[in-house]
């Protein structure tokens, strides 16, 4: 009997468009740039398409905030090797910081958000500094605990507006700005992080995940590099949180909600980890799906969970990995 197996072979155009040879023809250039252009143009045009549906414009905004959290999680977990469930902490700290700057110190929005991002990232990094030598699930537990700690502190001491939160934050001057601020932030950090990971410093970060002992033996302070990575990730998260607070015009305890920690993980699982792009695609599926399912009331959680389980069981590699393979390679049956 003839034995056959499926083999995967790179498409000719993929091989032709590697390295400098990509400039040999327009077709090759489009092959490489096409998916990026599709993502960027699609995202930029989305608010215009949704002109008639203001509710969905708002969903896009929130989707982009989750997108920021997902790339920050993906970066820490799959590049540096720190499983960080601190999404809720980043959002909460960023949100409260922008409220302090905007309401208490009367900074305008365009100043309050970047200031909140930087100062929030500084606070989060400082808090996580003692835990950086922890690995795997231990680091995850600590990062999960911090948001709960913040909630209790704010409740118990009745500071920062207590359970009512801080109200009266400035909103964005117009709805287009509201859309495009977060879309451009997401695109900038997505492509910026992908670039960073391919640089030499990114290799060092990937080295820490692979083998931190060898990095130490190479004369590099692993704790410093991890702190830098945590700062970048928390900057991304805190900017998202600051944006969200201005979107709601309110900073309250619900900014520390567990959703902000959990949904990014689900998004990375669905989209495929390590590339940051998979994380974004994952959120672009999960968040709108969750909105559609509102129709089913509480039953939506069941459908949501089934969808997640289905993805993990049948396509555990992630959607992006699957489609990237289809894009770059073809399959055929070969005789053994």
């Amino acid at each position: 009997m003839e034995v056959r197996r499926r083999e995967r072979i790179d498409r000719g155009i993929k091989v032709r468009s590697e390295g400098i040879y990509v400039v040999s023809s327009l077709k090759e250039m489009l092959y490489v740039a096409g998916p990026r252009i599709f993502l960027i143009a699609g995202l930029l045009l989305l608010p215009l398409f949704l002109e008639m549906a203001p509710y969905w414009k708002r969903v896009v905004n929130i989707m982009c905030v989750y997108g920021l959290l997902a790339i920050s999680f993906d970066f820490l977990a799959n590049v540096v090797g720190l499983v960080c469930l601190g999404g809720a902490m980043f959002i909460g700290v960023g949100g409260y910081m922008t409220a302090i700057f905007n309401v208490y110190l009367h900074c305008p929005v365009y100043l309050a958000i970047p200031l909140a991002g930087l100062s929030g990232a500084f606070i989060c990094t400082l808090l996580l500094l003692p835990c950086l030598s922890l690995r795997g699930v231990y680091f995850a537990i600590v990062t999960l605990m911090y948001p709960l700690l913040f909630i209790r502190i704010i409740e118990a001491l009745n500071i920062l507006g207590g359970t009512n939160g801080i109200t009266g934050l400035d909103s964005f001057p117009n709805p287009y700005l509201e859309n495009y601020v977060i879309i451009l932030l997401l695109l900038a950090f997505l492509f910026g992080l992908r670039r960073l990971v391919d640089e030499d410093i990114g290799l060092v970060l990937r080295g820490i995940k692979d083998n931190d002992q060898s990095v130490r033996a190479s004369g590099i302070n692993v704790a410093h590099m991890k702190a830098l990575a945590v700062f970048i990730a928390s900057l991304i998260g805190c900017l998202g949180g600051a944006y969200l607070a201005h979107l709601y015009m309110w900073a309250g305890l619900s900014l520390f909600a567990l959703d902000f920690s959990i949904i990014p993980i689900a998004a990375v699982t669905i989209g495929g980890g390590g590339s940051m792009l998979g994380a974004v695609i994952g959120t672009f599926i999960l968040v709108p799906l969750s909105e559609f399912l509102r129709f089913f009331g509480t039953f939506r959680i069941v459908i949501y969970c089934l969808a997640l389980t289905g993805f993990i069981v049948f396509k555990s590699e992630g959607i992006l990995t699957y489609f990237a393979r289809k894009y770059d390679q073809f399959e055929r049956w070969a005789k053994i």
Partner: protein, 256 residues
């Protein structure tokens, strides 16, 4: 005791694990450009000695002098930055990276960036080229695909050499080799000996822990024998293997 002559010396180093005395007052000193072998049966404390010196575990008592500075108790990255590189007995490559990208990490380190690329090449940028140069020097065929293959797909012989290449990329003054010959075929080891000689010619000091005595004795200037964490003999390899205590502890019989 000729302190000014030696680039590196260890004085009365101690380490205990619970009740086990892993190192008992070990002392030795090494001159610049010397190849110094450390031998001893399994569990005699050779790797512990390297780990203590390079800062991967904390030694308890004693002193470690490198160019007159006591580096005992420094963190591992600071010791590496001072110019002391090490290989790991259980190989620790970056499995997910291509072989030549493994060298980018030591090349990126503050030390290698301050000194400049290997043999004067590429102080800034083109670390990739320098990395492939080093790999070629150490026996990765430049024109083949081997330097560009993911480390996880490479055979042991290449991974052992990659360990050494990572040390070289750091531009060190001293390299501690923890059994770089083990797991290699006789011809592979023979291929590495000229490289060791070349490093020695460049003034790099090598301290080699080794079980492959025949090959070690070809390159080592002096040898120390450890047993149960204690130095039992030191000197030219002929003197060391002739020592009755070494014979009894390590070789177990009359013939080598």
């Amino acid at each position: 005791m000729g302190e000014d002559m030696s680039i590196f010396s260890v004085e009365h180093l101690n380490k205990t694990f619970g009740g086990v005395k892993a190192l008992m007052s070990v002392s030795f000193s090494v001159k610049q450009g010397e190849v110094y072998g450390i031998i001893g049966p399994n569990g005699s404390g050779k790797t512990t000695l390297i780990n203590c010196i390079t800062g991967f575990i904390k030694p308890e008592g004693g002193k470690v002098y490198f160019r007159g500075v006591n580096i005992k108790g420094w963190p591992a990255h600071k010791i590496a930055r001072a110019g002391i590189a090490r290989t790991f007995q259980v190989m620790r490559p970056y499995y997910s990276l291509p072989a030549y990208k493994n060298l980018i990490i030591p090349l990126w380190s503050p030390r290698a960036r301050a000194i400049g690329g290997w043999r004067g090449g590429g102080r800034h940028g083109d670390r990739d080229t320098v990395a492939v140069d080093i790999l070629e020097e150490i026996g990765f065929e430049r024109d083949s695909r081997v330097p560009y293959k993911t480390a996880s797909t490479l055979p042991t012989g290449y991974l052992k050499r990659l360990e050494l290449a990572r040390c070289i990329a750091l531009r060190p003054e001293i390299i501690f080799c923890d059994e770089v010959f083990s797991g290699l075929s006789a011809s592979e080891v023979a291929g590495m000996l000229p490289l060791i000689e070349k490093l020695k010619m460049e003034g790099i000091t090598l301290i080699m822990v080794e079980h492959r005595l025949k090959e070690l004795f070809k390159v080592a200037d002096r040898v120390m024998a450890l047993q149960f964490g204690e130095k039992i003999a030191e000197g030219h390899y002929r003197e060391v293997i002739a020592d009755p205590r070494v014979k009894e502890a390590y070789l177990g019989s009359e013939e080598v």
